[in-house]
């Protein structure tokens, strides 16, 4: 591997971290500002939720180097399967306990 290619790759990876960091910090700031600005609660929830999901994608993309293009790998499948399980478990828990709460408390 030539030094030149290596240098390019290094630059690309450095840039990836910096871009990721800037995106993440902006999304974080957005979410905090929405709360600091005392927006209407439901609007705030929506913005916080979207910012959080976007930031998760940013972290996976820029810090953990997961992307759609290399989807032949097992890792992405693993992440997607984990997401499915988490949605089932956490979503199910919240659904069930809310339902029970409404019916008996």
């Amino acid at each position: 591997m030539s030094a030149e290619v290596e240098e390019q790759e290094k630059k690309r990876e450095l840039r990836s971290y910096i871009v990721g960091f800037v995106l993440a910090i902006s999304l974080t700031a957005l979410a905090f500002l929405v709360v600091a600005a005392d927006l209407q609660t439901s609007t705030a929830y929506v913005v916080i939720g979207i910012a959080a999901l976007a930031q998760v994608v940013v972290h996976f993309r820029f810090f953990l180097h997961i992307s759609w293009q290399r989807s032949t790998r097992d890792d992405l499948q693993l992440i997607l399967f984990t997401t499915l399980i988490i949605i089932l478990m956490a979503g199910g828990t919240i659904w069930i306990l809310n339902n029970l709460h409404h019916r008996m408390m």
Binding site: N99, H102, R103, M104, M105
Partner: protein, 306 residues
């Protein structure tokens, strides 16, 4: 199989302890559903049970069979049957579940031209306390019900989680501290029925049984009138004695009563049930008061539609 076919014989014996000998519409629907599901399931169960020994014996090594196909491993028609039949069967059974779900929801009111009788049930360690708020009496170890009139139970617990069940009448449901669950049942003929807790709650668990006396309205009215003469109010002191850990029979040292007839209280401290609930969940007290104001009959339907 032997065990399952003997079910039919069972219906006769042990009267009043089981939904196989139902004494109300809920239990009888459940029994019919049980047999219906078993019948449908025979479509796959019988072939499997017959084919396993048959195929194993037919193709035994020592058998005189020339049809040996060691590499035969797939057949589309068979595969379609193998997947298709269970899929269709499960679809049929799913409609059975979906169809009966709401009407058999323990919270759903039982259709009747008579207004439901409300009974408040408090689970204690190794006994159930029944409060009749309209009649202002209470009982432990015995539950009197008028026949052909819906009963709406509201349940809570003053101890660990328990499960309230009168098998011959229908469903069971958990009773938990600080929470109120609901159960709607109806007895359609007079009988003495077994009632119990089915959720293990300690060393006296096996003794947490009670007699459910399903009786004609006139007898029920007489039973209430008798109860009122007991001159034994259920005030805070009496409640704290009843709610001590122990079996019903243990209460004989504190009250004078015949355990086979149950311990009856002639009056009940106002809002005892709400007090017990609020002990664990103070904010719940308000909610239930407002619920009461809305009217009880409403509630079952409300929730069924959630």
């Amino acid at each position: 199989m032997v065990a399952l076919s003997s079910l039919v014989l069972l219906a006769g014996c042990g009267s009043g302890i089981s939904f196989l000998d139902p004494h109300g519409p809920v239990a009888s629907t459940q029994r019919d559903l049980l047999f219906e599901v078993i019948a449908w399931m025979m479509i796959v169960v019988l072939p499997a049970i017959v084919l396993v020994p048959f195929v194993a014996w037919r193709f035994r090594r020592t058998g005189n069979n020339k049809s040996y196909h060691p590499n035969w491993q797939f057949s589309w028609p068979l595969e379609i049957i193998v997947w298709g039949v269970p899929v269709v069967l499960v679809c049929i059974l799913a409609t059975l579940i979906a169809g009966k779900a709401r009407s058999l929801d323990p919270y759903a009111a039982i259709p009747s031209d008579k207004p439901p009788l409300t009974v408040e049930v408090i689970g204690l360690d190794y006994k159930w306390l029944f409060v009749y708020p309209e009649q202002n009496i209470a009982s432990v170890g015995v539950l009197a019900l008028p026949v052909d009139r819906p009963v709406r139970f509201r349940l809570t617990s003053d101890t660990v989680m328990q499960s309230f069940m009168i098998p011959a009448l229908g469903s069971q449901i958990y009773a938990m501290a600080g929470m109120v669950t609901e159960l709607n049942l109806l007895a359609d003929r007079p009988a003495v029925l077994m009632g119990q807790n089915t959720q293990f709650n300690g060393l006296g668990f096996q003794n947490q049984k009670f007699d459910t006396l399903a009786m004609p309205q006139a007898d029920f009215d007489r039973w209430i009138a008798n109860a009122k003469q007991a001159e034994r109010p259920l005030d805070q002191d009496a409640y704290s004695i009843v709610s001590e850990k122990g079996k019903l029979a243990d209460l004989r040292s504190r009250f004078d009563f015949d355990p086979s007839k149950g311990l009856i209280f002639s009056s009940v401290e106002p809002a005892l049930f709400a007090t017990v609930v609020a002990r664990y969940r103070p904010e719940a007290a308000h909610r239930h008061e407002s619920d009461e104001a809305k009217g009880p009959a409403h509630k079952g339907h409300d929730h069924a539609n959630h």
